[in-house]
Point group: C2
Chain length 366, copies 2
């Protein structure tokens, strides 16, 4: 059911990068989390991202920016997204470069476009409410704002960005962002959450392509200039040569730092508070929260209940991705991830530290 009208000039960009080291050994350098079905269905996180966008943005206006190791998998997972919309970065250059490249190409192909950028690895419980929220952001973006989607924070998470707002939040009503603070230290995050005036930045952005490119040019010409060069050559005979020559010089910086923090300080950023069951699939613990406890004593992720047999075991998160039986006896509150070449056993409250292990295991397992 298509409840929200599709705006004719709206394009979507999905930056699909990063390997997700906190999801090792399920995610690997060559098998990143956005390609995995971690949302409780058989669709990958990337496919689910496209699925929930399509009622708002047809597949022919959806762009994916990804790395060389994942281009083929992305292309096969998303057969409805045109080949020309799958932009392959020669090397990882963080989110500003990825988003700017796609935005530049879109503006070149469709001048005046509105662009929404959506992370490839989130889970959203209520896609209808999500689309309604984006629709409001699109209207605000037309007026020249750099729009974000704001999520009511539930814990002093230090891995997200925080949006300071002026007053009480109301879903589906755009409002100004006073400050944008990316990844605050724990003490500050706690203060933010306690104040009731901050929202999490959901890592979704909506803006006119032209607005964003101009902001970038004004604030970070070191990024804007090479990206503009590449975008100008895109679809031409020079595309490959210019990309090869220019791309390596592009600075690696997250869009939150390069654009959003300074633009918010200048009163250029807005947000639409969203209430649509948003989850960032950062580690196995957040996956367990999304999937929920389906089986007595264990949350089975990405596998069938028959993959696990337990006696006197509870509080488990079992990821039977190795097509083998996982058996537990008097084991509690651990995450068990079984893959064809490695098995992880991890205390649930240490889920976010799995990335530490990836630094210690031999390279062939990463």
């Amino acid at each position: 059911v298509q409840r929200v009208k599709r705006p004719d000039d709206l394009y979507a960009v999905i930056p699909a990068g990063g390997s997700g080291t906190r999801l090792w050994p399920l995610s690997r350098q060559h098998h990143p989390k956005f390609l995995l079905p971690l949302g409780g269905t058989d669709r990958s996180l990337l496919q689910a991202t496209v699925d929930r966008l399509v009622p708002l943005v047809p597949a022919e206006r959806i762009y994916v920016v990804t790395g060389t190791p994942h281009a083929a998998a992305v292309a096969r997972q998303l057969p409805d997204v045109p080949e020309d919309n799958i932009l392959v970065e020669p090397s990882p250059r963080d989110s500003t470069a990825a988003i700017a490249l796609a935005t530049g190409v879109i503006e070149r192909r469709a001048p005046g476009a509105i662009v929404g950028s959506f992370a490839a690895d989130h889970v959203i419980a209520d896609p209808e409410a999500f689309r309604a929220t984006v629709r409001v952001a699109v209207d605000a973006a037309r007026a020249g704002r750099l729009m974000t989607i704001g999520i009511s924070p539930t814990r002093p998470e230090t891995g997200y960005g925080y949006l300071e707002c002026s007053a009480g939040f109301e879903p589906l009503r755009a409002q100004e962002v006073l400050t944008f603070r990316e990844k605050p230290p724990a003490q500050l995050a706690t203060q933010y959450v306690g104040s009731g005036r901050y929202l999490w930045n959901a890592s979704m952005f909506v803006w006119r392509a032209r607005t964003f490119l101009d902001e970038l040019a004004g604030r970070r010409p070191d990024l804007a200039t090479p990206i503009a060069q590449i975008a100008a050559a895109w679809d031409s005979a020079d595309q490959q040569v210019v990309l090869d020559t220019v791309w390596p010089s592009v600075a690696k910086v997250a869009v939150d730092y390069a654009v959003m923090e300074p633009a918010a300080a200048d009163g250029r950023v807005g947000t639409v508070p969203g209430d649509f069951g948003w989850s960032d699939i950062g580690d196995f613990e957040t996956i367990a929260e999304v999937v929920g406890q389906a089986e007595e004593g264990a949350t089975i992720v990405n596998g069938s209940a028959a993959s696990w047999v337990g006696i006197d075991s509870d509080g488990l998160v079992v990821v039977p991705a190795g097509d083998r039986l996982v058996a537990t006896l008097d084991v509690h509150d651990v995450i068990i991830v079984d893959t064809p070449d490695a098995v992880l056993i991890c205390r649930r409250d240490r889920a976010q530290d799995v990335k530490l292990l990836t630094a210690q295991v031999p390279a062939r397992y990463t």
Copy 2:
């Protein structure tokens, strides 16, 4: 170095049966523990049993009694044991039948023989002391006693047999057994261990073949008669026919109950206390005791240290039999057994309950 003289009339019987459900998923119905290298070397428990016997009993006088699923593996693991000495039971009939069959065949082939029966799944730290102990038992057996080897108990184990003796124990000195009690309840076992007058029965027996067969005939003709029939036909053209016809009727009973308990009550049983580092490889916890902690934080059994990477993890027993990496994060005091089709995680103090799991897992994993 052959320190103990080989008695010319000594034969060894190794009953190699049972699958070792407490060692699942490492041991399986078709891959029982005695075929696995669990003693900290690359020799299987069965091979190690033969290795430590050979200085006392040459391979041509060593007999193995095993089941149909394991005959081929036994034959290949023990190339020096003659084919005719590998007796294959058509179906499992417990230890009395296995030992009686081999004893009957040996007595037929070598009248007057002394027979020692040795479990296939024990680990012995000091083989020299072991052989010296057996040598003393052989001399006592010549006088017509049913000899056992006694081990000083270290805990009120309810899975073993207990030998009540009259006085203080002295290694290498045979003495009378007043009572033989197989698998006492916990309270009784505790009392036995506290009294200081009991030894564990090491499940090794030494006797004249004739003495044992006569004891069996007197006490359990229902077992002795069919076994005698089969033994009489052994090496003849009728061997297979008689085995097929008679074997299924043989009662299933452990030799401890069928012969040793009643014979001890009649003053027919003796023991030689042994002090040679005896371990019954019953479960993963006893394996860990035998192998010892080789790596910081984990005892690696049956694999290399490189198979495990841990952060903030200790007290682990890791069995990397699946040729994969085992990674742990903040996990303590568990056993992790990784095999090609199943992975077990078990609290160390529940090691003996692994058999409960085997009753619950699908048959293809057992």
